[in-house]
């Protein structure tokens, strides 16, 4: 360790001094050290003309990579020489292209290279320029990546790269990679702090989502935000107000669903009334109140929600606070506080302060959040301490920082090579107006990197890309076929493209309803499009026909929902789906009117088939949630309806009716004495009894085992008077109590499962078998985590960690012996994901891994930045789901593949964003496609990684540009053209 520290200090000092003194390549010093000849594929360093030599950028990058990531400690002198050669190659390339453009007509008056090739620009120059830029940008990205990896390795203490701690500060200069990294860390489904927040607090908004979908939402909230600070703040403030309103809504709906007493119902119904009367004006004071609380606790939220982008941070804060405030309302404290405020006329701010300072709930919540935050941090960046080992002194640290800053700045500038060339062409062109006319005199040098270097370094090319195998092919590189929308566009609405079966189904059943609201065309014969034609013709009475129509409408709604839930080009957007539903309802209502049936405001039957709700667990909202924009002119109970939709009745129709059906499952009989709960806000006493009963049962059963031993306890224990059946009955009662406690928000689902497990274990220990109990837990029904910790912790829970993962557990209601352990076993590790999600993720993964072009295609048809981000998040979530469910973590090869795909998604996303935003060369996120080691041909991989042969193989150096690489400069024109050669410009 001491030796390494010494080398490290030596390295840092050497590099710092050397870099500070001179950035230029010193031939006398470096030529022999690094064997510069092997990096020059044509010409000579002695040639001073622009284009007098051609570098192999990939080899230079490979050498740097080996120095940093090789098994041996970095050699300062070598590293310095490689770096300077890299700088020199870059600078020479820039000179070359400035010179060449000055003698060509490929640039516009501003010196910029336009998006479309000017007619006067010769194709060779155009293609070579783009190819050269791609290559240079890729090499810069690679150096960034290498340094990133070095930093990461050093932090995690994995490798000798700790001696390159000088690069630690480099990340700050690289910018984007840390954002990507943050997203993954924050949204890790096991320990990501942002993911945990979404899972814990957003019970109504996301309660019904499985991990995969929730992860997608998480990505959305943690994605890098490019907007200015003022924009973010403005939007955040706006969202805060809305967030409070919505937060209160969500919380109050939850409260109303779980209300145990009329007192609670009174609160809930009154707030609901206020919200529905005039959401953002009448609520003013309530909102002010909440905002005061929010202000008080902002600092705390800041520290916890560092994962969220600013807008969502504000949104989240507002929601959590509003939830917290409502907890005060329903607690005893609220009475006292409101009484106090009524007497003293104190201002809201004072009240808020008091609430925060005095509240037991607030303290609990704070403690819980702090713990979670610490846990998140611990897992996220825990490697730091280990890596630190021996910490350098302040002097060394300063030297490190200087070095890393210099290098970071240099690399950043290099990433802007296109800009630099444009600027210089503009400047130098202005001074020499005739230069462009002399296009024919431009230097025809080996600078045309494609023509020379390809001979010595065959290009790595992805399987899907036409591979130049010789100088000739490299000189005339073929662009990757830009994926276009292959499937025919059906029509102008949200339906875009669809596979054949889906297209046929769409045409047959739904096309008639796919029209925009502007085209208010009424179907001539709605029955033809809605009802089963044969049955409809056979039906004799109008009522039978009505029933068929309603059934048909329901079926169409389901079809629309299916399409809506289908991802990719086969699916339709939510707005299109809503419009189609609306049109179905309109058609149904038209038919009804024409046949003398009444119509009216309608409820959401569309979702009824999937919305069987357990009234008992309070999950009605999430599962009965109707389509937000379903439209119904008028409807009956079978017509779709619901929140957020535009229901409009026909004026003058005197029989307008409305239904809003809700399906609930009748809950099991309560074993809690409701009379004791009623009429009092202090609701915990009866529930506490349940807790005590359960604990008592466990204690007695376990105690009996302790004294008498398993199997014989029935006769000898305190249960002696009870038969086995009696114990079973009591066990069931305890299970019900636990379920009740969960429903009432006293315990969370993890604790409930733990309790179930304890009861099962106790029963098994007592009588040798356990009774199975049926329940279904939807994640965290209680919006306020403050109540979670109110339950006494079991002394020795015989549980495994995986139990906490269980989100939804469905069990049969019939008692089955000796099966109980299975339902809580570790086998169901995938419970967090539905089967369909897993299948879908696998499908997506296979599709993406089959060909890199598949990822490009995913983004090709997207037109807006938002859609691109969403698509990227969706793909990432799918891949992550696959990783989590396919056991990929144990398979290194698959893990690498997954990392590769994730990086590709990021780079394609950035490329697509640049495409839609018209970003030219300045975007730090635009990335040419990077090739990976497994895409290289064996020979080219060997060639391009030549230095690796001399040193220990730097396997990780060949990974995709996971972080830094994506920060490369963007391409300007012909954005999807891929130039895959190994050789460098100038």
């Amino acid at each position: 360790m001491k030796l390494k520290l010494f080398v490290f200090i030596l390295t840092v000092f050497s590099l710092s001094h050397l870099l500070a003194a001179e950035d230029d390549y010193n031939r006398a010093q470096c030529d022999k050290v690094i064997g510069v000849e092997k990096f020059i594929v044509a010409g000579s360093l002695d040639d001073k003309r622009p284009g007098g030599k051609t570098y192999n950028f990939n080899k230079i990058v490979g050498a740097i990579e080996n120095e940093l990531l090789g098994a041996q400690d970095p050699r300062p002198e070598h590293f310095e020489c490689y770096t300077k050669l890299f700088y020199k190659a870059h600078a020479d390339a820039e000179d070359y292209w400035v010179n060449r453009f000055l003698n060509s007509s490929c640039t516009n008056q501003n010196g910029d290279v336009p998006r479309v090739k000017p007619e006067s620009c010769d194709a060779k120059t155009w293609h070579e320029y783009h190819r050269s830029m791609k290559l240079i940008e890729r090499s810069v990205a690679s150096v960034k990546r290498v340094t990133e990896e070095c930093v990461e390795d050093a932090r995690s203490g994995k490798k000798s790269c700790e001696s390159m701690n000088a690069l630690m500060g480099l990340k700050e200069n690289l910018g984007a990679p840390i954002e990507e990294n943050k997203m993954d860390k924050c949204c890790n489904t096991k320990e990501g702090p942002a993911f945990r927040i979404l899972r814990s607090y957003y019970t109504y908004e996301f309660g019904s989502l499985n991990d995969a979908d929730l992860q997608k939402e998480c990505y959305k909230r943690t994605r890098p935000d490019k907007r200015s600070s003022s924009d973010k703040l403005a939007e955040g403030a706006l969202n805060c107000l809305t967030g409070i309103g919505r937060g209160i809504f969500e919380s109050i709906l939850k409260l109303a669903r779980t209300a145990k007493s009329l007192w609670e119902m009174g609160i809930a119904s009154e707030i609901l009334k206020i919200l529905t009367t005039n959401p953002l004006t009448t609520l003013e004071k309530l909102v002010e109140f909440v905002k005061e609380v929010f202000k008080q606790s902002t600092a705390h939220f800041e520290s916890f929600t560092e994962c969220f982008s600013p807008v969502y941070k504000a949104d989240h804060g507002c929601k959590v606070v509003s939830s917290m405030v409502l907890e005060f309302f329903t607690g005893k404290k609220a009475f006292e506080m409101v009484a106090a405020i009524a007497k003293s006329g104190a201002k809201m701010g004072t009240l808020a302060k008091q609430l925060i300072a005095d509240s037991r709930q607030a303290k609990r919540m704070q403690s819980e959040m702090t713990n979670a935050a610490n846990a998140g941090r611990g897992s996220g960046g825990g490697g730091g301490a280990g890596a630190a080992g021996v910490r350098p002194s302040l002097k060394v640290t300063t030297a490190m920082r200087n070095f890393s800053q210099r290098m970071g700045q240099r690399l950043k500038a290099m990433g802007d090579i296109r800009k630099n060339i444009s600027r210089r062409v503009r400047q130098e062109g202005a001074g020499n107006p005739n230069s462009r006319a002399a296009a024919s005199n431009r230097p025809q040098s080996p600078n045309g990197s494609a023509t020379v270097a390809a001979e010595t370094a065959p290009s790595p090319v992805p399987s899907s890309v036409p591979k130049p195998t010789s100088a000739a092919t490299a000189a005339a590189p073929r662009p990757v076929a830009t994926p276009t929308t292959a499937a025919p566009r059906i029509r102008g609405s949200g339906i875009a493209t669809r596979s054949r079966p889906a297209l046929a189904g769409y045409k047959r059943d739904l096309r008639a309803f796919d029209r925009s609201p502007k085209r208010n065309v009424r179907l001539k014969n709605p029955e033809k499009h809605i009802a089963d034609r044969r049955k409809f013709e056979r039906a004799k009475t109008k009522e039978e026909k009505l029933a068929l129509m309603e059934q048909g409408a329901k079926r169409r709604h389901l079809q629309v929902t299916q399409l809506e839930n289908t991802s990719g080009v086969q699916g339709i957007s939510a707005s299109s789906a809503a419009q189609m539903r609306s049109n179905i309802d309109k058609a149904l209502n038209d038919w009804k009117r024409a046949n003398g049936f009444s119509t009216g405001l309608s409820g959401g039957m569309t979702t009824v088939s999937t919305s069987a709700v357990r009234a008992a667990d309070g999950s009605t909202a999430s599962s009965v949630r109707p389509s937000p924009s379903a439209v119904a002119d008028s409807g009956t109970s079978s017509a779709p309806s619901a929140g957020g939709s535009t229901a409009k009745t026909a004026p003058g129709n005197n029989s307008v009716t409305g239904t809003s059906p809700m399906t609930v499952e009748i809950p099991p009989l309560s074993s809690i004495d409701l009379g004791r709960i009623a009429s009092t806000p202090v609701t915990s006493a009866a529930l506490q009894t349940s807790v005590n009963n359960t604990l008592s049962f466990i204690q007695r059963a376990s105690g009996a085992v302790g004294t008498n031993g398993t199997q014989s306890t029935v006769r000898n224990s305190i249960y002696g008077r009870l038969a086995e059946r009696g114990i079973k009955r009591e066990s069931l009662a305890r299970h019900r109590d636990i379920e009740k406690m969960f429903q009432n928000g006293l315990i969370n689902e993890t604790e409930a499962l733990a309790f179930h497990r304890m009861v099962v274990t106790a029963e098994m220990e007592s009588v040798g078998k356990a009774t199975r109990f049926s329940t279904s837990y939807v994640v965290a029904p209680n919006a306020n985590p403050a109540t979670f910790s109110s339950i006494p912790k079991p002394k020795k829970p015989t549980l495994t960690g995986s139990i906490a993962k269980g989100i939804t557990i469905d069990m049969a209601s019939n008692a089955m012996e000796n099966k109980a352990l299975e339902q809580f076993s570790d086998k169901n590790n995938n419970e967090r994901y539905t089967e369909s999600t897993i299948k879908e993720s696998q499908k997506i993964y296979e599709k993406l891994s089959a060909s890199p072009v598949a990822i490009t295609k995913e983004f090709d048809t997207l037109k807006t930045e938002e859609a691109i981000y969403d698509k990227a998040d969706e793909l990432r979530a799918k891949v992550k789901t696959f990783e989590a469910t396919a056991g990929a973590t144990s398979d290194e090869a698959q893990k690498a593949e997954i990392t590769k795909i994730l990086d590709l998604i990021n780079s394609e996303r950035d490329r697509a964003i640049d495409r839609v935003t018209g970003n030219t060369a300045s975007s730090p996120k635009s990335t040419p496609r990077i090739l990976y080691e497994d895409e290289l041909t064996p020979s080219s991989a060997t060639t391009s990684r030549q230095p690796a042969q001399k040193r220990t193989a730097p396997v990780r150096g060949s990974r995709p540009p996971s972080k830094g690489a994506n920060t490369d400069a963007g391409e300007e024109s012909a954005p999807l053209i891929e130039w895959e050669t190994d050789e460098g410009g100038e």
């Binding site: 007192w263 609160i267 959401p279 953002l280 405001l601 009234a615 929140g643």
Partner: protein, 184 residues
């Protein structure tokens, strides 16, 4: 022959048991719904503050008249509604409401209450009243449709600035609202 019959009977029984087992899907489902006969041109509100779980209807921006409804799968409240008289239910609900009144600054809150037992498993509790907010008089009618399976809360709100004729018609509509629960 005996063996054949025994096997046949056993097979039949197995099929029967299996079919019973397989059909143990969701049972005892209840559907709560409401029907609102109306002469007015109600439009569903989708602006700020609207959430999917609730239906909010308006008569356009010019008329501050709102009708809202939400369904809750709450199993706790039935026994309380079933065992108490109107006065007691009202007193309980009001004690909760008062907290919000304090925060929202309501004044002169007054209400009448009534209870209607439609059947042994359906109760409709109604509160009609008014209060003042920023010196403006607000009127409301709330209906709680309570069953052992869940609750529908519906509410009609208007102010003194509302068009009186429209408000009257809206009240007529609201009076005719019909609730229904179906067991499956």
């Amino acid at each position: 022959m005996k063996v054949f019959f025994v096997f046949t009977i056993v097979a039949l029984l197995s099929v029967l048991v299996l079919s019973q087992t397989n059909s143990s899907g969701p049972k005892n489902m209840a559907t709560l719904s409401y029907v609102l006969p109306s002469q007015l041109d109600w439009e569903q509100y989708t602006g700020d503050g609207a959430v999917e779980e609730m239906q909010i209807y308006t008569l356009g921006d010019d008329h501050p008249i709102r009708l809202s409804a939400t369904q809750l799968g709450n199993p706790h409240l039935w026994e309380q509604f079933a065992s108490m008289d109107a006065e007691k239910i009202y007193a309980e609900l009001l004690s909760g409401k008062k907290i919000i009144h304090s925060i929202a600054g309501y004044k002169n809150w007054q209400a009448n209450k009534s209870i209607e037992k439609k059947s042994s498993k359906e109760i409709i509790f109604e509160i009609t009243g008014h209060f003042e907010e920023k010196k403006e008089k607000n009127f409301f009618t709330e209906k709680y449709y309570v069953t052992p399976y869940g609750v529908i809360i519906s509410s009609l709100n208007w102010t003194e600035k509302s068009n009186p004729k429209l408000a009257e018609k809206a009240q007529d509509d609201f009076e005719k609202i019909e609730f229904k629960s179906e067991l499956r």
